[in-house]
Symmetry: C3
Subunit: 348 residues, 3 copies
């Protein structure tokens, strides 16, 4: 958890700590500006360090009251104290460590937690109040399990994970290293599978698992179902937002970015580096290639080749979708024109 | 929590308690009708008080077996005992207090709850079993914290709030007065923000907060993310339904009504008095004016001016959207007509 | 909970246990194959029993390395050891019981659970750690309540139910027999109902209940709101997936299948045997007939008669919707053709 640290840093010292080149008018107050926090351009005051992460923010930067501006090479703001760096976001991470240092939860198991003696906790693991850890669970070193979490029998959690309060991990689920799970995440509920036997819907046991690879982050109240047999897998470094539904047997690739309320039906595959915007839905069995982008609310029923951007319901390549959307807006007018032609042709 | 109170009330006394004018045929049984519950028109029986909240329910009212009918001025049902009032809904609130009085949870902290000594609880606060309240938390007088809730370090909860079981409020989140949070609500999970640094998606710390203003109600399993810097804000008296996703840095106005499964991307602003129907999605940065209505499932990518009603994906003013929807249904026929014209013109 | 049982079974014995007819080349290794697990066709190895549930999997079956194949009558795979049965899925359930037997939670109340003395637990009920069961609750024999569940005052849970960790059931909610509730399910949060009184949105008390009939299964983080008055009802054997929103006063029929992220507005009725695909949204008050299918992401604003399949937003019968979708893809071309005709007609 990151917490605000009260600290004043002179602009000169700050430049050193951030490995930045200090430029701009530094006479008087600006030169010995003392900074105590980070803020966005519109909200920054004289005590704040702000930043220009995109040239389109240049006007906002000029208007900003920030005491200093973190800027990329070639984007000095005339007459303003600027800290010039190679990569603004990378440098900001250092600034966050100065003013919002990460403070891990205290090591050890809270007395109210129920940890089965047959569970193995690595060095420095912390387990919050009211959490329940069943037999056969293994948790890697340095992992923080928040309050009121549940980790079911024989589950594996890697090193350096962060589980926020109320995360629920069912039996035999496997979570890699450095995974962040937000409150209300459910890993390993049963997949949704029924077969009609003797005219009744009968539940088909779901005995597979879920595998969450290293560096994944999963948002609040997102649910990832266990496989029917074998596994549901979320690839390395993939980031999933809130209230997303991943059905059984999906295989999500590496470094995907999946926005809020996206829904994956069963057995979908995505490649690496895909971006899915909010509320997208994908049909079961669909195969999505590498580096595919799917725009918001799209409904995908077809496979998508590598590198393409799709949109619409049903989804199609974005260029085609855009042409159709544009044409639709002219549709009422088109109807009138056809009527006109019919008049002329006397075919009314 | 409201609970059924077993009580019989004569229709005359009821009229007095509700400040209603008693009209209609009251000889015999009807006149000394005794009422013991509230019910809707189709389900009401002779012991029930029912109500006509809308003229379109007049037929249902005539057919209803209700022992008495709460009606607005000018809507007496001939030959039925009617309690005539100025505002049916306002009067119903009094009727609810008679038969379903609100029974607050018992004051005090349940012995199984873990409340940090450095938390401050106001007068009459109740904390349910298995709840966890961390250091620096301040909770206002009369607030009820249900079972299994989590309130993180330095969070502020105002007076007279109601937290149902399993609400999770992260560090430093601020909740106003008279706020109702239903089970599974998560306030203050990290916003969804990554930047590609050295070819890898890197998490950008989310150190801002969430501010929930007075009188807000938030539905089950809804998630509201904390801001990157500064705050995500839900305006006074705004009501949010279940499974809604509000991303970081949104600023939702006052008295908005937001239906189930709506999704807000980052940094959206809405004005006051907006109504969003179910499953609407809104693009990041969008500015929605005051008193805007957005119909169900719409996908909003543009800003919307004050007072407008929009629909569609992509969303547009409802009149235009309706024309297009109507035209689309005639599209196959239009194709045939164009084919006809081409035949005639010999351009096939 | 089903758990893997380590057991080796000879193919001959397996055939007997499954009541299957053993056919195919059985000389040498195949004949005395020993099987130790279930697997899908592509993942099966020589020690696995796999199955052909659909003729379209015949090629996969021929390529499978499975030690034996469970097949329906008339679908023997030449030269492979096949177990021929009348109903593959039905027989698979027996196979699951061999290798993944169901292991109920230990009977009794965990010492950390808080169970009100005025709650009644049937024979063999298990209550997991940190669960809270309030006064007046009745739980039927053999029901398993997982860790960290909440069951509110006067709620009724039938026999043989399975509540996964973190299920929350509010006051007076009624759950039938053999119901499965996955983690994060919330039954009985307040319906979303406000009336404007004196220019302010005022909450209307929600004092009705939720009734879950026998054999229903509800997915992770799904929310089902309590009624305004009377009840919200989920019919017998209906199966609901994750993150579904059912608003107050809905009456869902029997044996419905409702996929992930579907949203029901208030007072909707569905008949029996309906299938709703993912992310469908339905308007309040809509009446959906029996055996209706609604395809993914559809937005339903009209009532739907028995037996129909609808699609689209707004939804319509699928044949009409398909014609329109097809026509839309040709819309840009149609525009060109009309332009051509106008040229010829000199009406440009």
């Amino acid at each position: 958890m990151r917490r605000k640290a009260e600290r004043q840093i002179g602009i000169q010292e700050l430049a050193e700590r951030l490995g930045a080149r200090l430029v701009g008018r530094l006479v008087g107050s600006a030169g010995d500006a003392v900074l105590s926090d980070l803020a966005t351009l519109p909200e920054a005051g004289p005590d704040d360090l702000s930043f220009v992460s995109d040239p389109k923010h240049l006007d906002a930067a000029r208007e900003s009251r920030a005491g200093a501006l973190l800027v990329p090479e070639g984007v000095e703001i005339a007459g303003r104290p600027c800290l010039v760096v190679g990569n603004v976001w990378k440098t900001l991470l250092t600034a966050f460590d100065l003013w919002y240092p990460d403070e891990p939860a205290p090591e050890g198991v809270h007395p109210t937690a129920v940890v089965d003696p047959a569970a193995e906790l690595g060095a420095g693991v912390s387990v919050g109040p009211m959490s329940v850890i069943e037999a056969g669970v293994k948790i890697g070193a340095g992992t923080q399990v928040g309050a009121q979490c549940f980790i079911g029998r024989d589950a594996r959690i890697g090193e350096g994970c962060l589980l926020y309060p109320g995360v629920r991990i069912m039996e035999r689920i496997q979570v890699g290293r450095g995974v962040i799970l937000h409150s209300g995440v459910v890993l390993g509920a049963d997949g949704f599978k029924y077969e009609v036997i003797d005219a009744m819907p009968v539940k088909i046991p779901q005995v597979g698992t879920v595998v969450i690879e290293d560096g994944v982050e999963i948002g609040a109240n997102t649910t990832i179902d266990r496989a029917f047999l074998n596994e549901t897998r979320i690839g390395m470094m993939t980031k999933i937002d809130n209230l997303v539904h991943v059905a059984h047997n999906c295989r999500i690739g590496r470094m995907n970015g999946i926005a809020g309320q996206v829904g994956f039906a069963g057995s979908i595959q995505t490649g690496d580096g895909c971006i899915l915007w909010g509320q997208v839905g994908i049909r079961d069995q669909a195969k999505i290639g590498n580096r595919v982008t799917i725009l918001a609310q799209s409904g995908v029923k077809d496979d998508i080749p590598d590198g393409e951007t799709w949109f619409g319901a049903p989804a199609m390549p974005v260029k085609e979708a855009a042409r159709i959307v544009a044409a639709q807006r002219r549709l009422p007018e088109l109807m009138k024109r056809v009527k006109e032609l019919e008049k002329k042709a006397g075919t009314e």
